[in-house]
């Protein structure tokens, strides 16, 4: 009889121990859901991309490369000037444009177009690209990333895209 009582007592204790640990774990897990969602927020956003007008057709002369700026696809109302992106826009024929991301494919620094030298140059580690975006010198593993461009009703438009990130093989996430 005593033994039975003791066993009951132990199993009661075991039950309460498990219950307390289980409840603690449950409360932590439930609280973690919104926390983890805040941590992962940038990955959970929907990826909208938008066409942004960057100028009129006549603003761009043939065979010239110009800096254009535009607002990213879905900026927060509190982003201020950080909502802006830049691209180098080259008019290669009457209706044909090429838009290069301003980011060097090496480590993302802003490349600048040297119009007399006809080269893009990066100030960080000496990356150099030709007018068509291919690598001319320095460490960049890939040509400059391109944005999509279209001409609609005399307006030149660029399709926004995520910041180009070069991955391990040197290949690029190309917005297509």
């Amino acid at each position: 009889m005593n033994n039975q009582l003791e066993n009951e007592e132990i199993s009661r204790r075991k039950f309460f121990m498990k219950l307390s640990l289980g409840l603690a774990g449950l409360s932590a897990a439930v609280a973690a859901i919104p926390v983890i969602s805040a941590v992962l927020a940038p990955l959970l956003e929907s990826k909208v991309e938008k066409w942004r007008t960057v100028g009129k057709l006549n603003d761009f002369q043939m065979n010239t490369t110009n800096l254009v700026t535009f607002i990213n696809a879905d900026p927060e109302p509190y982003a201020g000037m950080t909502a802006k992106s830049a691209a180098w826009l080259r008019r290669s024929s009457d209706t044909n444009f090429i838009a290069f991301a301003a980011n060097c494919t090496h480590l993302g620094c802003p490349v600048r177009w040297e119009k007399d030298a006809h080269l893009f140059m990066c100030p960080c580690h000496g990356g150099v690209y030709y007018a068509d975006g291919s690598v001319a010198a320095g460490p960049p593993p890939k040509p400059l990333t391109r944005y999509q461009v279209r001409v609609i009703n005399d307006e030149v438009q660029i399709k926004t895209a995520p910041l180009p990130i070069t991955n391990i093989g040197g290949s690029k996430s190309q917005p297509v």
Partner: protein, 466 residues
């Protein structure tokens, strides 16, 4: 009155347990003859406290928002009373912490203090090193100017090299697909809440281990560490010759820490905070991002290593360094501690030291970057004393076509390519043409860029440089 105060103290002491539990910790016995080389850890700790206090003060004035941080920094620097000094102390304090963490780690390695039973001291210190570097990086980024924006892009690019998940990590770091409203909020949270919380935790653990395992005694050649007998030998040493930590050993720590903190404040008053560059506008591309000095060695490494292996090295380099540093106490945790008996270990320390300092020096010169600020070469500085029109055109083209960004002639120009002051002695006209048209290992080919006439003008100028 005196009795009354005594009574109050007695009450506090009884209820708080100060004399019972805290006092023995402060006066615990430590090995004798631990001299000036033992002060770096405590100096790091005091610098960290200085960073916490000045950081909290800065947070009273700073706006952690991508949109407004720049304006608030201008306010702190130019308007707030002592704001510039406050920013300066936080900046020089960060620099001091990086240097002191490095010195502390080197001293620990040189005297092999990581050996039994202090392996965990080393490992917790290793984590603190990583946190300190991360704080340095995120801190320079919170100075949210164009440098801050591009530093975050560079960091995202490096994370992008991680296989499979690199792109996700990069987007998590930036707080979105591009720089934006969430970017600075995230870095602020890393710098002000998340990493400091870990630092407090690990500092507490690190200090607890110092008390538990004791300060390592100064090493002596041929006195081996034997895990079987070390603890009892160490306890006997303390019983025989131990001195109380406070004040016999700690006065040196206090003096050095106080001196360093005064030096930091003096530097801040004298030089002020690092200047803000242009506003944080990612569409402004006419900017040359440059990290703070303690990140320069990494930055230099990325320019200097062979380009083919770079993406792999960007991933494996930090990973192998971390694995190596982490495993040091597991590779050898017993035997000799004296640096005199561990020549290869000393050789390694010297190599690492020379390597990092060289990278820093080379990185500060950044000769691989085009020199965008170069001024046109005046005709008085060329070799030809009586230049004809082709040479004069060549001089102008040498500047206009960007040659001078990378090549120096008579102190004018960049250093990415060879100095061409006397190139006429080395290369013939034909060789010059071939080189310019085809380019070279690290030089663009100008065949499609230069007209025949331009090429001839540049070549005749260069050939006259003899």
């Amino acid at each position: 009155m005196k009795n009354f105060l005594k009574k109050i103290w007695k009450w506090i002491d009884d209820r708080s347990g100060f004399s019972e539990s805290i006092l023995p910790v402060i006066t615990h016995p430590v090995p004798p003859r631990a001299k000036w080389s033992y002060v770096f850890g405590s100096a790091t700790l005091f610098c960290f406290l200085l960073q916490v206090i000045t950081g909290v003060a800065l947070s009273l004035l700073y706006q952690p928002s991508s949109k407004e941080a720049y304006q608030s920094l201008q306010f702190i620097t130019n308007q707030a009373k002592f704001g510039n000094v406050l920013r300066g102390i936080h900046y020089f304090g960060a620099s001091a912490m990086i240097i002191l963490v490095g010195l502390h780690m080197m001293r620990t390695y040189i005297t092999a203090s990581y050996k039994y039973p202090r392996e965990m001291n080393w490992i917790s210190g290793f984590f603190l090193l990583i946190f300190t570097i991360f704080m340095g990086f995120t801190g320079q980024l919170l100075r949210w100017d164009s440098n801050g924006v591009w530093s975050s892009v560079v960091a995202a690019q490096q994370l992008g090299r991680v296989p499979f998940v690199g792109e996700y990590l990069a987007r998590l770091l930036l707080g979105g697909n591009t720089i934006g409203g969430q970017t600075l909020s995230r870095f602020y949270s890393y710098h002000v809440f998340i990493v400091p919380a870990f630092i407090f935790l690990f500092v507490a653990f690190h200090l607890y281990l110092v008390i538990r395992n004791g300060i390592s005694e100064p090493p002596k050649a041929a006195r081996m560490v034997d895990p079987k007998t070390y603890r009892s030998w160490y306890q006997n040493l303390l019983k025989r010759e131990g001195v109380p930590f406070w004040p016999d050993a700690a006065w040196r720590d206090i003096i050095v820490s106080a001196f360093i903190i005064i030096a930091i404040i003096a530097l801040a008053v004298f030089f002020g905070a690092p200047a803000l560059t242009t506003p944080p506008d990612p569409s402004m591309v006419q900017t040359s991002p440059n990290p703070d000095w303690y990140m320069i060695p990494f930055f230099a490494l990325f320019a200097l290593m062979p380009h083919k292996i770079e993406s792999i090295a960007m991933l494996l380099g930090p990973l192998l360094t971390i694995i190596l540093l982490f495993s040091i106490p597991f590779i050898s945790n017993k035997g000799e501690r004296s640096p005199l008996k561990r020549p290869w270990a000393m050789f390694g320390v010297i190599c690492v030291f020379v390597f990092v300092i060289s990278l820093l020096v080379i990185g500060l010169q950044a000769s691989w970057s085009p020199n965008f600020n170069t001024k046109p070469l005046p005709l008085t500085d060329i070799k030809s004393s009586n230049p004809d029109s082709t040479i004069i055109k060549g001089v102008h083209l040498f500047y206009a076509k960007g040659c001078q960004y990378c090549h120096t002639i008579n102190h004018y120009g960049g250093k990415a390519g060879p100095n061409l002051t006397t190139v006429g002695n080395r290369l013939s006209i034909e060789e010059l043409k071939v080189r310019i048209v085809n380019g070279g290992k690290n030089m663009p080919s100008f065949g499609g860029i230069l007209s025949k006439e331009d090429l001839n003008n540049i070549v005749s100028f260069l050939h006259s440089q003899n």
